[in-house]
Subunit: 317 residues, 4 copies
């Protein structure tokens, strides 16, 4: 592999007026599935990375930050998590975090793109770390919305690692009030739902605030949290929600530590009580921006997102 | 100004293998002072930005995040802040935050580069917002280390907005134990010191950990904190230190809120009690990395930094 | 000016899949006229360059190649050139070449964009080299097509330095059969017409072949020629046409040399008899491609160009 | 393969201040041999391309231009070409052009890098088009200089497709007077030598002029010629030389046509009598620059090239 030359680059369009470039050591895979275009690259900066439809997904070097942040607050928040549904998460790293809990005896994972799952097992084995072979795991290749609307199974925790909504895309229907109501319906009564919820900073907060406000219509309690992921160059956000009140706000660093000890034995790499406190203590400007959102995403109104993207573009992208 | 074309770009080398590009509306200034090369650009993504020696410094759109994070924890941590010394900070935004406190009756600002200060007043007036005309302010154009070692004045708070240390550069001597001892000597007995302390994430933590460990040798209490700054694409860190024990850890969100109300009247845009809690609750992986550092930067050993940069380069940049 | 840094770049889109980047020393002008967006840049590679609507126009370092190639074959081909009409040519370098001939007693130059002409005089004075002050020159700011259709003046030589035709642009009507008929009408009976005629190589020949075939419908004799222009990165082409037969093919290197001596005294920098022979001896593949074109551009059919651009895009751009 | 996305780019450094970027469809090969780093890419703009040590070598779309220009003038100039030596030319396209002549009964090809030859046969089969299996061909993997100095075989035509000289590289010794004397010694008495001779335009002429002047010391007759190669973005030059006088200048378009008919039957794609005339009619500025060169490259003085590169860099790169 060319070691001293920087002739091959991956270029990601962060916006119309900004892009980021990574020098490439090796193109491990470049192709497409029925659903998306797929790149698996070996980069000098972050080692192996996955790119779907031109969007950087994650890097070997720091994917643990994102995946621990996505999974553990929800599992720890639940009083007795035993069954988990994962929507999306084709890389397998979300699953890897879930199967760490011995008391979780059933995990259903629903991803639409079998090809991405197979390619990640082949080229990014550290992501799933063997989790796909775990006997507790049932892997389905299906549309998340379809599965959620049809299944009769109920879960303690539902984790959505689905792509964020883009205008003029079916992904819109994976962030509407109707979808979240179906999710809620699939949860047991103490159920916890968590979803990745786009970039979140003082210049890029609109998508998060829409997801946030829509989820708040459905659940008794819902909180936003975020963490910086180096290879994204962005601070990424999540929305966690509970079917009961005062479950999430009751999570003190001490309670988190004690549950981690009890449920996992060993500690994690990124997540613990203080990490949780840091992620859930949003800065004042961000809290105000999220709270200012009054719109709700509904199945009947996909053009709303389009209008917002256009406005956003005009304003600051 | 060309509105629809993206022909002019600012390209920043983040590392040998990564760069970031911003489309430019206008080049407001491109030149050099005796100390550095200076670009002031109007970009589509972040409006006006300042670049020194090819390094992105700040943008109009989000500089408040960095500057509030740098200034307010230190001023709020002090029981009765009345005099402040600012080292560096040529843009004037650090000064702008300091002069918001009516009880601070004297501010000395020492920056080596008069040209940068003048250019920022001309092209980036919102940064200083008139603070340079405040009668409480004394502006000196001098070397920070020289000033600190010679002055007989003592301050309640010292804020260092100096550049981070680069190998083979005089900036090394602005982050050594000897320098921090001189700083400590210039502080009154309740004195608080704060400095920007480089990027800080799980892939870029070495520089912060060195600054952190060096400062810990000198002060009774010292804490690391960080926040994400969108236009940097990085999470930026700070180190705050106190001449007395249990001053910084005693700052609860409630105490912070009450001091902001009392000392400032109106609230700030970014900083408040919860923001503080978020910034000071570092994630587990980062805490472990900072704590793992045993090296101390000393005047006698400038080559240490060089060796570390080389190793860092070999490892993951 | 930053001398060692390469932070500012001009990026030109050569096609959807290819671009060229030049490091910038200085942005001399960035703005717009009523007709186009204008950049005048000082680059490290080519010194000062002019860019209109994102298209590189010319560089100080090698503009003499293009402008000598455009002007002299036509003037030399005419038996007794005394009056010249220049269409476009706002930079003034076409004019500079024309006024070198003492026997030319009248030059009319018609450019639509007064702002470009003024900016070039200010920032690129070597281009016109004072030619705009020449008493033989009449400068008009008008639409070329309108001028040609309305004027009652007749010329010995007409030189078109107009932009090439883009789809959905009024520039289409500056390369139609009807326009060339109006041009022919404005020429005296020995009149010579020459126009720049786009890039010309084995991968990019469609636009030239269309212009070429359209001009052949109108004139008795018409020849294609080309030369490489380093700062374009392209080989640029021209089409020269005569109202009489056997005028252009009769130009031997010897005849050219003798006319240059007679009419100019001193020689030129780029053009002479052998240069002429090189430019007019097109390679076999190019000759075949030009000859294969059967379409003619007509006022009534502007969508033709659009269709061709789309097909071209599909085929090899 | 991603069809609509432009995420992967090949970037070539044309100079310190200029680069060219091509969007990539597929990385066919990225690796290294004992001699160089090798990329074989499928690009949107030019289909398959070969890159050695970061330098663009050729593209499937237009390599015929370069290879016909390199081979045919030399073979056609010879009164009765029967044996040919090719130095370099690993892609196999030079060989493909040579074996088109039925009367050539022996071709020796000497390339140092077996890996490049094998990779080109595998990934770029249209380049050699089966020529490596031709029974008249003897392929040796050896150093060109070593072969030429040791062989006792004599040839009618020697074609050098070797890399151009870079400072501090063994390639210097492939363009010295001593090397050309060895070449001359390997030629029969009517022998013709041709070599590629770097970019050649009014801004980049120094390397060509050095090769040109050095070859002129050794041969009775020597001419420079050039052609534009679209995927290079450059005009490329060659130097052809004869052991006898008035062989090259005697080649009229008519003589060339008649020899092509006689020796090849069918015509070529690029080269014919008029193409030859175009390539050999250099523009006035270029002729003057080549003629201005007085330095000669000699084995004893490799630092000369280094000094020239440094000066060149200072002057206009």
């Amino acid at each position: 592999m060319p070691k001293n030359l920087r002739n091959l680059w991956f270029e990601e369009c962060d916006s119309f007026y900004k892009n980021t470039r990574l020098a490439i050591k090796e193109v491990l895979y470049a192709g497409e599935s029925s659903f998306q275009e797929i790149l698996i690259l070996n980069t000098f900066e972050y080692e192996k990375v996955l790119v779907l439809d031109g969007d950087f997904q994650s890097s070997e070097k720091d994917e643990y930050v994102y995946h621990e942040a996505l999974v553990h607050p929800a599992v720890i928040a639940h009083p007795k998590p035993q069954t988990v549904l994962i929507l999306g998460g084709g890389e397998g790293a979300t699953l890897r975090e879930v199967v760490k809990y011995p008391d979780i005896y059933r995990v259903v994972m629903v991803d639409i793109d079998e090809k991405v799952v197979k390619l990640c097992q082949q080229f990014l084995p550290s992501y799933s770390s063997g989790a796909f072979s775990d006997k507790r795991v049932k892997l389905l290749f299906d549309d998340a919305r379809k599965y959620v609307s049809e299944t009769e199974e109920r879960f303690d925790v539902i984790i959505s690692d689905l792509t964020e909504p883009f205008p003029d895309s079916p992904s819109y229907f994976l962030c509407t009030q109707e979808f979240y109501e179906q999710i809620s319906h699939c949860l047991n009564e103490n159920g916890i739902f968590v979803t990745q919820a786009s970039r979140l900073d003082c210049l890029n907060w609109v998508i998060h605030s829409l997801i946030s406000n829509t989820i708040k219509q459905v659940f008794k309690e819902a909180l936003s949290y975020y963490t910086y992921v180096p290879s994204f160059g962005d601070r990424w956000s999540f929305k966690i929600a509970s079917k009961r009140e005062r479950v999430l706000t009751a999570l003190t660093p001490q309670l988190i530590e004690s549950r981690i000890n009890q449920r996992l034995g060993a500690g994690l790499k990124f997540y613990d009580g203080i990490t949780h406190q840091g992620m859930f203590s949003l800065s004042k400007d961000i809290r105000e921006k999220i709270d200012s959102q009054t719109l709700v995403l509904k199945d009947a109104n996909p053009q709303l997102l389009k209008e917002i993207y256009q406005k956003k573009l005009g304003t600051y992208l």
